[in-house]
Every structure is written in structure tokens, then in C-alpha cells.
Amino acid sequence: MPIQTLSAIFAALSDPTRLAIVERLLAGEATVTDLARPFALTQPAISRHLKVLEAAGLIETRIDGTARPRRIRPEALIPAADFLDRFRAILEARYARLDDLLAELATENSNEGPKE
């Protein structure tokens, strides 16, 4: 994934309204009217948010006659536990390298003399 895309996703989800829209869409597809209702926002305001989410690849528009319901892109969904696991794996890899470095430092120190 290009880093520009990552940046777009970050920007898209950093807004509380858009995060709430994504949470609502996780429960099932919804029209702009459905989405505008709980947020006390105008439809054009909601549409602007939807455009940002769509550009980031988080949601898509389905064409159903004259209706245009929005829905989550299934491939955009990774359970929260899963991304926490990935995050943990990233940190583990980093700290495993730090373990190696600390072992090297201990060797350097013991070569310099009887230090702790």
C-alpha cells in the first residue's frame, strides 16, 4: 500500500464523525439520509465525509435503482484484535533486535574490564 494511501486512511479516520460513520456502516449499509439522521449534520456535510472515506478506500457506493447506499468495503475490515496482534508483532521484532544489541553492549563492557 503506498504511503499516500496510508496517510489518507489516517486522515479519514482521525475525524470523530467519520469514525462514527464507519462504525455505523459496520452494522450494515446505509443511505446518506440514514447516516445524516444521528449526526445532526446536513446531507451535503455527510456527503463530504463520505467522499473522504470513499477516497481512502474504506467504503463504497452500491447502486440500487435510484438509491445509493454506502457500505464498508469488506476487504477493509480486519478485526481489532487482529491489528493489535500485528502491532504487537511489529514491536516484538523491534525489541528482539534491542535484546541482541544489549547483549553486544554487555560483551563490549566486559571486554573493557570487570564492570557489571
Binding site: F10, L13, L26, L91, L105
Partner: protein, 158 residues
């Protein structure tokens, strides 16, 4: 050694704990000396940190730049807020992807324990949405971001 623990606390914090079989002085040095930081604070295989500036004094700046040697790169800037040698680092940082991400306030504590050091890393983000985005982007303080690992990495709440 206890394994790494990672948890979210409240609406805005992420807390990571990890033990190291080395004294706090050594773990602290590895977090503040550029020569050492460059060896471990890296992304996946193939990524290096050609620029590493770290001035661990209150108000001191930091700048880390990573590259995969194939034209992909990104960087982080930050400032040290408080520092207690071998004990505690408080700093703020943000990633440039290339637009800056919201400030991540980070406290790193090094506690002496039997056999080494218990490190407690507490990241505080401005709000729940930004924390979620940070975790989902896989970048945390961002240092480990990579195209490979982030492939397809988006998020859900279910």
C-alpha cells in the same frame, strides 16, 4: 523474561511493557544514543535509518528518517520534554507520511527488576479516534511502518 504486553487504557492511551535482560543504564542508552538507535529502531528487513538525531535534553529535538533503499522513505520528528538518566524519558513525536500525524505523547520508564529492566512505554494520543487510526496504521509511533507490513492493513471494530 515476561513477554511483551500491549494494551489500550482509557480512550487515549496505549501501554506497552517489555523486560530486557540488561540494566536500566544500558536500555536507556539504547533509547537515546543515535549510534545504538540506528541498530534496532528499524522497520522490516531491508529498512535502515540513515538519519538519526536525538538530543535527550528538555527541549532537545529528535529526527529519525527511514528508507528501504528503493526510493521509499518517511520520517519522524519530536522533542524531549523531560529526562531522568537511566530512568525515564518523556517526549512528543509525530510521523510524516508525508502529512504530519497528530502528536503522540510518549513516556518511557525503565524500572530495575530482578535480572534486568522492566520498560513501560505509555503513548497518549489526542483522542480515541486518532488512537484507533494510529494502531490501525500499524505505525504506533510510526517507526515500524512499511509498505510490506501495511499491505491491506485497515481496520474494523468488530
Amino acid at each position: 523474561m515476561k513477554p511483551l504486553e500491549l494494551k489500550t487504557v482509557g480512550d487515549t492511551k496505549v501501554v506497552v511493557t517489555r523486560q530486557f535482560p540488561a540494566p536500566p543504564e544500558a536500555v536507556f542508552r539504547a533509547h537515546t544514543e543515535p549510534r545504538l538507535l540506528k541498530k534496532w529502531m528499524l522497520g522490516p528487513e531491508g529498512w535502515t535509518m540513515p538519519v538519526c538525531i536525538c538530543d535527550p535534553r528538555p527541549g532537545g529535538t529528535m529526527r529519525f528518517e527511514w528508507t528501504d533503499g528503493k526510493g521509499n522513505s518517511f520520517h519522524l520528528t519530536g522533542e524531549t520534554i523531560e529526562i531522568e538518566p537511566a530512568r525515564r524519558i518523556v517526549h512528543v513525536e509525530r510521523m510524516f507520511l508525508p502529512d504530519p500525524t497528530p502528536d503522540n505523547h510518549v513516556e518511557t520508564l525503565f524500572d530495575p527488576v530482578a535480572g534486568g529492566t522492566l520498560m513501560t512505554l505509555t503513548m497518549t494520543l489526542p483522542d480515541a479516534a486518532i488512537r484507533q487510526a494510529m494502531l490501525a496504521s500499524g505505525t504506533a509511533d510510526g517507526m515500524e511502518a512499511s509498505y510490506a507490513r501495511l499491505e491491506g492493513l485497515l481496520l474494523g471494530w468488530t
